[in-house]
Amino acid sequence: MSADQEQAERTIRCLVAKVGLDGHDRGAHVIARAFRDAGFEVVYSGLHRAPEEVVQAAVQEDVDVLGISILSGAHNTLVPKILEGLKEYGAFEDTLVLVGGIVPDGDKEELRSLGVAEIFGPGASMDEMIDYVHEHAPERN
């Protein structure tokens, strides 16, 4: 009856996750706020999350976008574990995975080939990230 009404613009849900040992969450906070102001619903994981906790959160919260913030340099071990977990629960296909932090150019290709959609380094602008999310957030029905 009111299908068109019920199909009001879907709210984009994001998980902003801090994994591993580094305690620098200023960037994650700034991004969480910017996403909120862009009208997204942002689930913030808190610090020092293990990959399986991030997977649990991404699966249960059914987020469209998973933003992983890593400044420790451990991305090559942590990110693949998260991607594996998403696949295990059937969540990989329709989750846009972004990595924010300091990732050497040499590692970027590797992360992309594993399934990370984009990597945002220092100096990336908020607007750029928000536009990217708007453009690439997975279509769902």
């Binding site: 009856m1 709210t11 808190g46 699966v59």
Partner: protein, 331 residues
């Protein structure tokens, strides 16, 4: 049966997560899904937890969930945070406190925003609880800030409602009188190690006593349906008092079963659900009709010119519906 429902009933976390999203988004087809799930629900105990911001709800919920898990029960949590009325965005931070259950998939924790503009928060929450219940969760905890009628509506759908009061919050206790007191099945004074906790406990005791005196002839601390809300003192972040909380909840659930109040509650919950849905659907139907007739603006123009008035406008819209229903009843 739809594939999504089958997957959910088979215990797939992803299907459960997806169904809750559909409920929140009111995606096409969500109604059929909730209808199907309904007959598989009705076994979980639902506990509502409310209280002012910073009272320690999330921390307590985390500890309570892990206590249930230790007893071999599965848990669903719905944590509701306010969304911005301006952008619709929200930062949902309750998950940060979920440290005791990190990585345990048998605690299904879901953050929801109030999505103010959409309304229907209590409908969405009720439906999400139905989904968790059908999934097979033994205990479902609904956590919400106790401010505003919306939140009160949400939390009162629970079997047992716990209201958290931070210590030394004289003003808060005053505020509680205004509505939350009536829905509390138990009180929790969290951060009971802080100064002022004793005073808060005292104030609450007095208030409960007063309430019970006023509501029944017995006046011995039992209210008119035979339940006196206990006050549990906790230090949630240290895990103190959590067992006492869990047994207080169990006492209340037992009371509901033994007194037959559970059945009454379920009945009135379903009745409220039917009424809410009816209101929402009738509202949507008539809003559509209003749009089809050119929207509200032309009507307002005519009201401004004193050619008509709000009552007449509404009567014109309702009239066809009324006569149609009348015809059917007679036919």
């Amino acid at each position: 049966m739809s594939e999504l429902v089958a997957d959910l009933l088979a215990g797939e976390h992803r299907a459960l997560a997806r169904v809750i999203s559909m409920i929140e988004d009111r995606s096409p087809g969500y109604r059929e899904i909730v209808s199907e799930l309904h007959r598989h629900s009705g076994t979980a105990d639902v506990v509502g937890v409310t209280g002012s911001p910073g009272a320690g709800k999330s921390t307590l919920v985390d500890k309570v969930a892990s206590t249930y898990r230790d007893r071999g029960e599965t848990v669903g949590v719905i944590a509701i945070d306010p969304s911005s009325p301006f952008t619709g965005g929200a930062v949902l931070g309750d998950r940060i406190r979920m440290a005791s259950n990190a990585g345990d998939m048998d605690v299904f924790f879901r953050s929801m925003s109030t999505r103010g503009s959409l309304g229907g928060l209590s409908t969405a929450t009720t439906d999400a609880v139905t989904a968790l219940d059908a999934f097979g969760k033994d205990k479902i905890i609904v956590e919400t800030v106790g401010a505003g009628q919306n939140e009160i509506d949400v939390v009162r759908t629970a079997d047992t409602v716990a209201v958290l009061v931070p210590p030394d919050s004289g003003d808060d206790v005053q505020m509680l009188k205004a509505g939350i007191l009536e829905i509390a099945d138990l009180f929790v004074v969290n951060k009971a190690d802080l100064d002022g906790a004793d005073r808060t406990v005292g104030q609450l005791k007095e208030m409960i006593h007063h309430r019970t005196d006023a509501s029944g002839p017995e006046g011995h601390g039992t209210d008119d349906d035979g339940w006196t809300p206990p006050i549990v003192e906790t230090v949630a972040n240290a895990g103190e008092g959590v067992d006492a909380f869990v047994s207080a909840v169990q006492d209340h659930l037992d009371y509901l079963d033994e007194s037959g109040r559970r059945e009454e509650k379920v009945r009135s919950r379903y009745a409220a659900e039917v009424r809410t849905l009816l209101r929402e659907d009738a509202n949507a139907l008539l809003a559509e009709e209003l749009e089809a007739r050119g929207g509200v603006d032309p009507a307002v123009d005519r009201i401004l010119e004193h050619e008509t008035d709000p009552y007449t406008v509404v009567a014109d819209l309702i009239e066809p519906l009324e006569s149609c229903l009348e015809e059917r009843r007679q036919g």
